[in-house]
Every structure is written in structure tokens, then in C-alpha cells.
């Protein structure tokens, strides 16, 4: 074989190798274990990863997490994403999913609560002491979630409106795509302050400094609902995951990550 032929054949073989080795007949795949997909608000990431491990251990069923802003997750569901459980950081998104007939209404339950806090970068010399202080000229950039699709952004807006800081503060607001991005911008010092969940602030304690907590009266109660998605082929397993969320073991894990107890 000429060296050119050899080169072409070996390149072709290299490209096809993954397909040759990776392909398995469907009958073999059917014997592999069951897996459920859970779309969850990104603020639940740390707690859910722990819960997922516990669930897998207890049931032998695998869990695939899809974290993101609740609004984005809702759009994915509407678009037909093959998800088994939807866990949101606000009632609004689950309400909309239910309204469109995407969920099994009898499976819906609130499983956790959260608080809203104002944080600044840990290294900053800011003398910010309250939400009202955000109007001070030293505060140039405030990170909040995009109210269009991110619950933490909607809650933040409510708080700012409560303190009569909008519309004046509008030009200082920097919108983030999800709750963790708000946190990251504050932690990295790209902004002067940010409004995040208490649980998120607690997840990076050395990088952000807590300035104030929003009063309960200043925003809609932060409640996390979850439900099983209609049409899932794994209804039993999905319901089992929800049961785990509401169980003592599940609530203990959530509590350890800073979430409040579920208020049914």
C-alpha cells in the first residue's frame, strides 16, 4: 500500500473508531439502568447534587440534573424537553407550566423556602449597610437576575420597588442570566453589589460579604415548588424523587444548605 493510501485509511479508521467502539445494540441498552432527568433552579445545585446521590443510592435509579434559571427551564419544557421533574425557584414558572398542561397537578408540592440578601465583594471597602444605601453614588453597578426569566431577579425587583429605589436605580442594574451568575459577578468583584439568595451567599462565604437581608414584607415569599412532568415514562421514579425531597432526610439536606423548611 502506498504511504498516501496508508495515511488516508488510518485517518478514516481513527475517525470511525469511536463509532465502532461506542455503538451498542439497542437490546443491550434497554438492560441498562433507568435514569430520570430533573430540571432544577440553579440555586438548588449543591443541595440537589447531594440529594441526587442519596436518591441513586436508595433506589438504584440514576438522576441527571439540568440546572438553570427557572424561566429558561420552563421554556425548555414548553419546547418539549424530555424532563421528568421540574423544580423551580418561584411559583410563577410552575403555574405557567401547569396552565399549559405540562405537569401532573396532583404531584405538585412546595419543598423549600429561601431568603433574599444583599451582598458585596468580600474584598471591597464598601460601607453599604442596607438596600436603601444602593442609591449612594459610590455604588455604580448592582447585579440582579434578569427579571424576565430569573426568579431571583424578580424577587430583587420587588424589594427595590418596596424601598422605592426604582426607577432611579435602573441604570445601575446589571442583569445576569441566572442566580449563580449574580453571585459570581459579586464574588469576582465585577460589580459593587448584588442581590442573591441567602443560600447562594452561604455557598461562597469567603468571597462575598453579607450586607442586609430583605424583610419578608418586601417581596413575595420565596417558595420552591416541584412537580412531575406529564408524559414521563418514569412516573413512579419521578414521584419517588419528589417524596425524597419532602422526606425528613431530604429536608435535612436542604436545611444544611441553608434552605427553609417546606411550607405546604
Amino acid at each position: 500500500m502506498s504511504s498516501r493510501r496508508a495515511f488516508l485509511s488510518s485517518t478514516l479508521l481513527l475517525i470511525l473508531l469511536p463509532a465502532i467502539l461506542g455503538g451498542t445494540p439497542t437490546s443491550v441498552r434497554a438492560a441498562e439502568r433507568v435514569e430520570i432527568t430533573v430540571s432544577a433552579a440553579i440555586s438548588l445545585k449543591n443541595a440537589f447534587e447531594e440529594l441526587g446521590a442519596l436518591y441513586e443510592k436508595q433506589s438504584g435509579v440514576g438522576v441527571l440534573f439540568n440546572f438553570g434559571a427557572s424561566g429558561q427551564l420552563l421554556q425548555q419544557l414548553i419546547g418539549g424537553a424530555p424532563v421528568d421533574v421540574f423544580a423551580s425557584a418561584a411559583q410563577q414558572d410552575v403555574d405557567e407550566a401547569e396552565r399549559r398542561g405540562l405537569l401532573l397537578p396532583d404531584s405538585r408540592a412546595n419543598f423549600a423556602g429561601n431568603q433574599l440578601v444583599l451582598v458585596v465583594p468580600a474584598a471591597s471597602h464598601s460601607r453599604l449597610a442596607s438596600f436603601k444605601g444602593l442609591s449612594h453614588k459610590d455604588v455604580q453597578r448592582i447585579a440582579v437576575g434578569n427579571p424576565r426569566s430569573v426568579p431571583v431577579g424578580r424577587y430583587a425587583r420587588e424589594v427595590l420597588l418596596f424601598h422605592k429605589l426604582l426607577p432611579a436605580l435602573e441604570r445601575k442594574l446589571i442583569y445576569a442570566e441566572n442566580a449563580r451568575q449574580v453571585l459570581d459577578w459579586v464574588a469576582r468583584g465585577e460589580v459593587d453589589a448584588g442581590v442573591v439568595y441567602a443560600t447562594d451567599a452561604a455557598s461562597r462565604p469567603h468571597e462575598v460579604r453579607l450586607v442586609a437581608q430583605a424583610q419578608d414584607a418586601s417581596h413575595t415569599p420565596i417558595v420552591y415548588p416541584a412537580a412531575v412532568v406529564r408524559g414521563t415514562p418514569h412516573q413512579a421514579q419521578a414521584r419517588a424523587f419528589l417524596s425524597l425531597l419532602l422526606s425528613e432526610a431530604g429536608q435535612e439536606i436542604l436545611g444544611r444548605h441553608g434552605f427553609q423548611r417546606a411550607t405546604r
Partner: protein, 221 residues
């Protein structure tokens, strides 16, 4: 909401024009250097400048944040000196677009310069013209079609930038939300009608620029 759409169109044009202007001002000399000179590290320079073309936009965005963030290698001193940071500004969006569009012009312009008959250039210098004069009067005019195509491509790419822009400039309506970012937000919040309009506009504009890059160069230049 119409505000968000209109401002995204304005921002896209503002960012793309600024980025393309910078691309042409810096890209042409660089392409000239790569085409007309030999020096140590030349191919390394070419690779470095071409990287944003093949790297995922998120990687490019990551490097940009590392360099220009408030505590970045370049952004840190800038912030310390002026209190200003390029993050979350339209200039940041323009910078991201610049970085990803530059390789397109450099590659095309370099090829255009290299395709000009060497004999013509030698003839010009033989007649007594300086390198600068030869470039201006012989090289550029003969390479103009390739240069135009490269510029049109760079502009289209600058308008279509998303990943790196999102990471460096953020997605702020009215300030940095260019059309691609606005489409992302609108789709993410279920506002399909508005997203539809912008998608159509972007497709038409991009198609127009590709057409200009291909045919316009032949016909009008």
C-alpha cells in the same frame, strides 16, 4: 419591549461598526506584515491571531474576562487608574466582536496580498517608489476585492457575536444587549413573536453582507 428590540438593533450596528473599524485599522497592517515580511515567530503570530476563529466563543470570552475584568491582567490596572472597566459596557461588546472578527479579515487580506503578482510590485519599486507608495498605489488597489470581502465577512461576524460578548459585556438591555443576545433573552422568556422578528432581521442582514462580500466585490470594485 419595543424599546428592547430597537435598542438591540442600534447596539448591534454600533458595536459591529466600531469593531469592524478597529479590525480594518489593525488587521490590514498585520495582514500586510504577514504577507510581505519574513521574521522570527511569524507563523506563531498567525496562529495566535487566528485562534479566536477556531476556539469556542466561550473560551475566547473566558480569556477576555481574564484580561479585561475589573481584576484582570489589563483591566485591573485600567480600573485602578481610571475607575472604569470595559466589562458590562458596549465597548466591551465591541472588543469581543473585534477579537472574533479580526482573524477573518487577516486571513482574507493576507491571501489577497499574497495573490498580487510579485513582478508588479518589484516593477513599482524599480521605478523608484517607496515600500509605502507601492503598497498604497499598487498592492492595495490590486488586492481590493479580497480586502472588501474580508471586511464584509468581518462585519457580519462582528454583528453575530454572542458567546464572548455575553461573558464580557453581559446581556443588559439598552447597554450591551445586541441582537443575538436579545434573541437569547426573548427566547428564554417565551417572547417568541419578538424573537422571531429579530431572527428574521439578523438573517436578512447577514445574508445581505455575504452577498455583498461575494458579488459586490466583483461588480463594483
Amino acid at each position: 419591549m419595543d424599546d428592547a428590540i430597537l435598542s438591540s438593533i442600534r447596539l448591534s450596528l454600533q458595536v459591529a461598526f466600531t469593531a469592524t473599524l478597529l479590525v480594518v485599522l489593525t488587521g490590514l497592517p498585520l495582514a500586510w506584515l504577514l504577507a510581505r515580511r519574513r521574521f522570527r515567530g511569524k507563523e506563531l503570530l498567525d496562529v495566535l491571531l487566528t485562534l479566536p476563529l477556531v476556539l469556542p466563543p466561550t473560551v475566547t470570552g473566558y480569556y477576555l474576562v481574564l484580561l479585561f475584568g475589573r481584576h484582570g491582567w489589563l483591566g485591573g490596572p485600567l480600573f485602578a487608574a481610571t475607575g472604569w472597566s470595559v466589562v458590562f459596557t458596549w465597548q466591551g461588546a465591541a472588543l469581543a466582536s473585534y477579537v472574533v472578527a479580526l482573524p477573518l479579515l487577516i486571513k482574507t487580506a493576507r491571501a489577497a496580498f499574497e495573490s498580487v503578482d510579485e513582478n508588479l510590485l518589484r516593477a513599482s519599486t524599480c521605478c523608484g517608489h517607496s515600500e509605502w507608495s507601492t503598497t498604497l498605489r499598487v498592492l492595495l488597489p490590486l488586492a481590493r476585492r479580497g480586502l472588501w470581502a474580508g471586511t464584509a465577512l468581518a462585519f457580519a461576524r462582528a454583528m453575530g457575536e454572542f458567546g464572548a460578548t455575553l461573558m464580557l459585556a453581559g446581556n443588559i438591555p439598552g447597554r450591551t444587549a445586541t441582537m443575538p443576545l436579545a434573541i437569547y433573552s426573548l427566547a428564554g422568556s417565551g417572547e417568541w413573536g419578538a424573537a422571531h422578528a429579530l431572527v428574521l432581521l439578523m438573517t436578512v442582514l447577514s445574508g445581505l453582507f455575504l452577498y455583498l462580500a461575494n458579488r459586490g466585490a466583483g461588480r463594483w470594485l
